[in-house]
Symmetry: C2
Subunit: 221 residues, 2 copies
């Protein structure tokens, strides 16, 4: 199911009242709030990019599938993040909810970059934030060991959705592997190794306590 498609046919009188999302330091997005189930597609590669989305709760993965079936996850979108902005008319990646997620959906036309100055600036910031994240991702993937990649990932996640002590990962090992360009086994082994080294503690499969954030950050080089 596609959220855009689901929203479009709705008659105006049936649509929920438009809302303004009030996430901290984010761009306000005027649109409908919708719920997406785990593993449900938000939009697919090649589909018209008519809407943009903001994560209110949950998490989303953006990825491409290569011809041989390998999946490269470009980014994870977490609460407060906006995604779905494209240069051309169509989406170049597929987006799926990692967990049940609540999204605000806005028409792309409502965000025209030659509209108000503040909106243009916000959009610009968004694009540059995404560009920065993409650069960092490339930096993570270039000639780095598995340990460095996983450490970077954990530090990044802790920054974005951590509580200062640790972080509750919304994604599976396979998702992490596809993001970091590793295999699921290597991710698992590396996490175990980080635990043995005393840098982290796995309080659950997806619940990670950072015992030594400084050392972890130094691993990131």
């Amino acid at each position: 199911m596609n959220v855009s498609a689901a929203l479009a046919p709705r008659a105006p009188h049936r649509a929920p009242a438009p809302q303004v999302s009030r996430e901290p330091e984010g761009v306000r997005l005027i649109g409908m709030t919708t719920h997406v189930a785990r593993d449900q597609e938000v939009f697919g590669e090649g589909e018209p990019a008519d809407h943009v989305y903001k994560v209110v709760r949950g998490a989303v993965r953006g990825f491409r599938v290569l011809s041989d079936g390998r999946r490269q996850i470009c980014d994870f979108y977490l609460p407060g993040d906006i995604f779905g902005i494209e240069r051309g008319a169509d989406h170049t990646i597929t987006a799926e909810a990692l967990t049940g997620a609540i999204l605000v959906v806005a028409r792309r036309s409502n965000l025209s970059h030659d509209g108000s100055s503040t909106m243009a600036r916000s959009l610009w910031d968004l694009a540059m934030i995404e560009l920065g994240r993409s650069h960092d991702h490339a930096l993570t993937l270039g000639r780095r060991s598995a340990g460095e990649r996983v450490a970077r990932f954990l530090v990044d996640m802790a920054d974005r959705i951590g509580d200062g002590e640790g972080v509750e990962l919304p994604m599976s090992r396979q998702d992490i592997a596809d993001y970091l360009g590793l295999t699921i086994e290597t991710v698992s082994r590396t996490l175990t190794q980080l635990q043995v080294s005393g840098l982290i503690r796995l309080t659950g499969c997806r619940s990670i306590h950072l015992r030594n954030p400084r050392a972890l950050a130094e691993l990131c080089a």
Copy 2:
């Protein structure tokens, strides 16, 4: 030497007449034309991002150096490309000329994104082009073999600066290695292997003839 620094102190009457670059389908950049020697720095990481640059001739590498000395090249800028646009006040990467290069230098303030609508749109396109390239780069670096990486690199370069038959690479093996997250030896071996397979022909160290572009493209997956 830093180009920005070199330009700033010049008295107006000594400055060359501002020119408008007329590259195909690019953004017009109003500014001075300058020459940068091989391996000379255009700007450094952490320096104020007061100017943006357009490549008229030659090529530029944008990179970061990790704490242990490894260098990750984020992108190569080729004729027609604009670089140096940043989100914040400072540059997050260093830019150096690969070869002797001719650049158009424009003040960042002349490109304000809340200026004219057409300029805003052009800037937006630029940012989105760079974002697309960055995504592709991440896709190149994620769990791919050396062969796939090098093939992608060659196809990309042939698209951007090739003459339909082949491509004259402006960068060294070390630059390619730092871009693809490989070692210089692996790049060299992989190129040799592609030649043995009949996909390419090395007519010179940096002069590559694509004998079988279709097969090469299929390698990219």
